[in-house]
């Protein structure tokens, strides 16, 4: 008995299947990461020669690619993203507060709003471009200006902001609310003084990710006059504009190789902006994880 027992506990064969499976899974992750690395290395390599102050100090030029820069696109992006934040963050956060704190989920209209937001989150961005073109640029007559682009992008990322903010609000324990109500606070006092401060990190994370999405969007802006030679910094909501992704698209479609290097450099610039935004979001999220 003892002898057979002994054999039975010992590995009978090399578990090749298990080993191979693990390797394949690891490979899947590795391929995705390798792709990212290749992409980054490629654009940095291609754009290296143009990664200098010319990139953000000069305006675009189609005569002299060696002198051209993305100044107008960089500042245009800052304008558009800034205005997008101004439009969509208050609306998104207030909407999330309504849905989490006020809405009675047994009511059909509140459920409709929720369903609607989930659906909006997956509608292709180019469809928002159509919305911006048909309703905002032409319908409201804002034309192809910063305000049109900002409103369109706001609507595009609004569902992301709402969904993230709702989750952040939901993560605030009910006990905190009870404590506040128990002291005679009104609903809004409870929300404003207790719920929101606690939910801010989560909201910030979602909002930054939403804005970084907006910062990289090009498709809807194609329909909104983004593809234009603009050699100035916007000075208002009704000003013409161009943004980095569109400028990149414009340069990619140029045929001269020097423009491709330039577009790589601009891609690096855009990626820096976006990865920085993402890192801030991840940092905020990690830092605020263990509260309760």
């Amino acid at each position: 008995m003892t002898a057979t027992q002994r054999r039975l506990l010992v590995r009978r064969r090399v578990p090749w299947g298990d080993i191979a499976f693990k390797l394949v899974l690891r490979l899947c992750l590795a391929v995705a990461v390798a792709f990212l690395v290749t992409l980054l290395v490629y654009v940095v390599y291609k754009g290296w020669s143009r990664l200098d102050p010319r990139l953000w100090e000069n305006f675009p030029s189609i005569r002299r690619p060696e002198r051209a820069g993305a100044k107008s696109a960089l500042f245009g992006s800052l304008w558009v993203i800034g205005m997008t934040a101004v439009f969509c963050l208050p609306v998104g956060i207030l909407g999330a507060i309504y849905l989490e704190e006020y809405a009675d989920h047994r009511r059909w209209y509140n459920r409709l709003i929720e369903l609607n937001i989930a659906n909006l989150a997956a509608i292709p961005s180019i469809v928002y471009g159509i919305l911006g073109l048909g309703v905002i640029a032409r319908g409201f007559g804002f034309g192809t200006t910063v305000i049109t682009a900002s409103i369109t992008l706001s609507l595009l990322v609004l569902p992301i902001v709402i969904i993230a903010s709702r989750e952040a609000i939901r993560a605030v324990p009910g006990e905190i609310r009870n404590a506040s109500y128990g002291l005679g606070a009104t609903k809004w006092q409870t929300i404003w003084r207790q719920v929101l401060p606690s939910a801010i990190p989560g909201m910030a994370t979602g909002s930054i990710l939403a804005l970084s999405r907006a910062a990289g969007e090009a498709a809807p802006l194609l329909l909104l006059g983004g593809l234009t030679y603009v050699a100035y910094i916007p000075d208002g909501l009704l000003s013409g504009y161009t943004v980095l992704p569109i400028q990149i698209y414009g340069w990619i479609s140029q045929s001269r190789e020097s423009f491709h290097d330039l577009s790589s450099a601009a891609i690096v610039l855009l990626l820096i902006v976006i990865i920085a935004m993402n890192s801030v979001a991840i940092y905020v999220r990690n830092r605020s994880q263990k509260r309760w």
């Binding site: 009870n178 109500y181 128990g182």
Partner: protein
């Protein structure tokens, strides 16, 4: 239950007349009649699910915050109908404070926790004194006087719970409701809170829910024993079985069920 077996020895702070509470269609508590005396500790005891918390929440209209909760019968606060048309539940909760089972300090400084109540009532000055007084009364001052700016979440559980009591006191309520305020605490912290309750009961009317009979026996003057009864349709409803002086309830209860529960043979 028939109207309280107690003689009318006091001017009641709360008078519950035929109080029933529904969650949606479910009648969680049925036909409770009782009177709660001022400047005393009243304990609500009974097996889990018998509706103690539900009744307690009726007393400061915290039930309003539960979407489908509904109250029938009458709750009178002194002479005023607590559920009257013109009554403002927010005002109610300011007057009738509440301390919860799990200590729930706000994730802010100790000072801001205590000052929260006065602040939302528009008070801007004299906060230092209010905070100090509330912490003194809650027997917490000595322990936290050097950490007023520190985050309240860094306090120990027992300190947190006393902080919550101090926070409730700071708005100068008439009544303090406590729902199992010690069940998340260790024995030493529990003792401190119980001592505190005794001191506070000189100035405040206190109603406490506890599942710890020893605690009820130790701290309260009067005890209400609730149980859950199954009706003809098989639904469980919380009922008030007996309400009397604590001494009587624990030594010589009138009802068999009370006796069974007290001696551990039931519930």
């Amino acid at each position: 239950m028939a109207p309280s077996q107690l003689p009318d020895l006091f001017d009641p702070v709360f008078t519950l007349q035929d109080l029933s509470v529904f969650y949606g269609d479910y009648e969680a508590v049925r036909g409770v009649n009782m009177r709660i005396a001022p400047q005393e500790i009243t304990a609500l005891i009974g097996p889990s699910g018998c509706g103690k918390s539900t009744v307690l929440r009726c007393l400061n209209r915290m039930n309003d915050l539960i979407l489908d909760a509904r109250v029938a019968g009458k709750v009178t606060y002194y002479t005023e109908d607590l559920y009257g048309e013109s009554v403002d539940p927010i005002e109610v909760r300011r007057r009738i404070g509440m301390v919860f089972q799990k200590p729930n300090p706000f994730p802010k400084s100790v000072f801001d926790n205590i000052a929260y109540g006065p602040r939302i009532n528009g008070q801007r000055r004299g906060l230092d004194e209010i905070v100090e007084e509330a912490l003194h009364r809650a027997a917490l001052w000595d322990e936290v006087k050097d950490k007023l700016k520190q985050n309240a979440l860094a306090l120990s559980g027992g300190q947190q719970q006393r902080l919550c009591i101090a926070r409730a006191i700071a708005v100068k309520p008439d009544v303090i409701l406590m729902d199992e305020p010690c069940s998340a605490l260790d024995p030493i912290a529990t003792t401190k809170i119980e001592d505190l309750m005794q001191v506070l009961s000189r100035d405040y009317t206190i109603v406490i829910v506890t599942h710890n009979m020893q605690q009820a026996a130790r701290v309260s003057e009067r005890t209400a024993f609730f149980t859950a009864e199954v009706d003809e349709r098989g639904e469980r409803h919380g009922r008030l079985v007996e309400f009397d002086s604590t001494a009587r309830i624990f030594s010589n209860p009138a009802d068999k069920r009370t006796e069974g529960y007290i001696t551990g043979r039931f519930g």
